[in-house]
Amino acid sequence: MSEATNSQLADQVHPPYLQHHFAEPVQQFEAAKIGMWLFLVTEILLFGGLFVGFAVMHSRYPEAFASAHHHLDRALGALNTVVLLVSSFTMALAVAAARAGKRRALIGCLVLTLTLAGVFLVVKYFEYSHKFHEGLLPGRFYSYKGPSVPGEFMFFSFYFLMTGLHALHVLAGMTAISWLIWRARRGDFSAQYYNPVDLVGLYWHLVDMIWIYLFPLLYLIR
């Protein structure tokens, strides 16, 4: 009896999810958040290099870039934008559910987010295969024979680099969300401890946000 109370007391002072070098859960949570935000900064700068390169080449070949973007399917791009925005919303709901300690709602929202991420990639697959079919491939594989302005080739180098790198980030996000679902089913999370859900949520919003910039840049700007 007294042993049980002792271990309960110890759990309150030092719960199992609290790592030994932190004094209290709040400190651990805040440190993790700082770490995640810094990581997101590195992601933005990684894409930043491509955005700068795109801007430089766009200013050098404005007609080619304007003409090349007509090859992209705006409807599919817009559809994917909506899909990702909704997935960000379901991710936010997942974090709210985790904070409230609602396990079933958490798992439901995470599965929904994962599904929407899958839909995004399927749409992207159809877009890519259409480009491949036309010969609008990156670099040395570019073989488009239709009428075009010199320099369109460069647009497609950037198109594939930027959307490809973004798609890799979607895949990484899907892996992280699957891991959350596995842990949530195992019962790891509670209203007191849901740090990983919060952090993956931040990451997922960033992946979404990068697309919000990519879509107008590649599909709409002339």
């Binding site: 790592q19 030994h20 070098h21 932190f22 400190q27 805040e30 440190a31 993790a32 700082i34 770490g35 810094l38 990581f39 900064v41 590195t42 992601e43 700068l45 990684l46 894409f47 930043g48 290099g49 491509l50 700068v52 390169g53 430089v56 080449m57 050098r60 070949y61 990156p138 670099g139 040395r140 594989f141 010199p150 320099g151 080739f153 460069m154 180098s157 950037f158 680099l161």
Partner: protein
Amino acid sequence: MQKIEEFGARRGEVPPNYLTASRGWRSWIFTLDHKRIGVMYLWSVLAAFLLGGIFAMLVRLELLSPGKTLMEADQYNRAFTLHGAIMIFLFIIPAIPASLGNFALPIMLGAKDVAFPRLNLASYWIYVIGASMALASMFFGGVDTGWTFYTPYSTATTGPVSLLTLAAFVLGFSSIFTGINFIATIHKLRAPGMSWFKMPLFAWALYATSIIQILATPVLGITLLLIVMERAFRVGIFDPALGGDPVLFQHFFWFYSHPAVYIMILPAMGIISEVIPAFSRKTIFGYKAIAYSSVAIAFISFLVWGHHMFTSGQSPLASAVFSFLTFLVAIPSAIKVFNWVATMYRGSIDLKAPMLYGIMFLLLFAIGGLTGLFLGALSVDVHLHDTYFVVAHFHFVMMGGVTIAFLAGLHYWWPKMFGRLYSEKWARVAALLIFVGFNVTFLPQFLMGSRGMPRRYYNYVAEFQPLHTVSTIGSWILAVGLFLVAAYLLASLRKAPDAPANPWDARGLEWTTPSPPPVHNFDTTPVVTRGPYDYRPQEVVA
């Protein structure tokens, strides 16, 4: 926990420390202890330093005489590329933060560990993977682009360029992880009472370093990936034949690589800020000025990259702005030097090994910094660009500055890391050899450069031979000095532990815990009431 105590008890009366608390190779390669990770990093960067040093010796030996001395021209190109790439990516960037910083920072803050111990271990193993890739490139024929990978040569030449650039990409992750860890640790894990301005200046320096690591490294990452893409798919972004722009590569590369020299020098300055007050027995002069100047350097360092492109067809206006900003970055660096000298003024100077290297740093870094101003001046740079003057300037900052400060830190914290004192007598001999050898190697290179000897050349006209020969002989003296350091440091490990908790009577928190420290660093969490450099006579606490 229980196991640890039993183990210590069986060994005798000595309480276990982080080195003896657990045994076996698994207890090392899976360790989450920042001290053990720091030690693993230390041996790794020292191995890289040895390898990079061997290539340096080969390069100097080849330059002993004009024409072929030892190797063919293409072998020479590979040798200086490997020297540069190994020294930069495997040694200097991680040397101070990831080895000495990893070991000392949490203890200096009164913390039990860094904020993310698993990320810390991941950083180490990613470093090992990146290092293995870099070494593998050596066996697949070697790379001859120089460590700067300039396009369009790097996208056209044969050899495993993609492998070496991917290695640098992977190493970038390890660097970013260390940076994220240090910032979170400094924000969240300082001991009770340790306000920002009671923090040791080494911590401030590592904070500023981490900011640069986080903001600059991803840009290098994408740049190196673009080189790989260029080689694999001919995407054309840097290829003038396809409408791309090779100077854009230079902009991207130096947007990282100029700040990166501050990733290297800032932690070195942090060490000097620890060593000089400790061996002058004086409070540091201008604590806040040193702390803020670290952050100022981190900030301005992002705005000067264009000084590498004064001769690459950059617009005169841009060059003038970059030149002005380059001069600006000298100000916070000079503030630090003045503060260190003012700290020594009327101090009670004790010329122990760390202090010898500290003073050596002041002399050599001053020369390295001032010659940087020559290169930042537009008209002078046209004359000196891509000559041995640049090589000498760079080595005065990187070897005379960073590596000498690394040696200062290594000698300062060695007793804390391993619990052994080394021979002060041999340390003095080695320091003298290193100082003489260094100057004999690199001072002639300033002369050669100002007379027009281009860098990276395999052959040269006969009039440069005397200076090249002196430089090569200097490299031998330097090497003897460095091997001597290795010899007496390794010899100290064969003795029984003999270092007291505070061999220097220094004031940082790391000196309040036993040498080597226990697994959790402190038996009870320290509470900080004094500043980190309070060298006024203290009442003796029994």
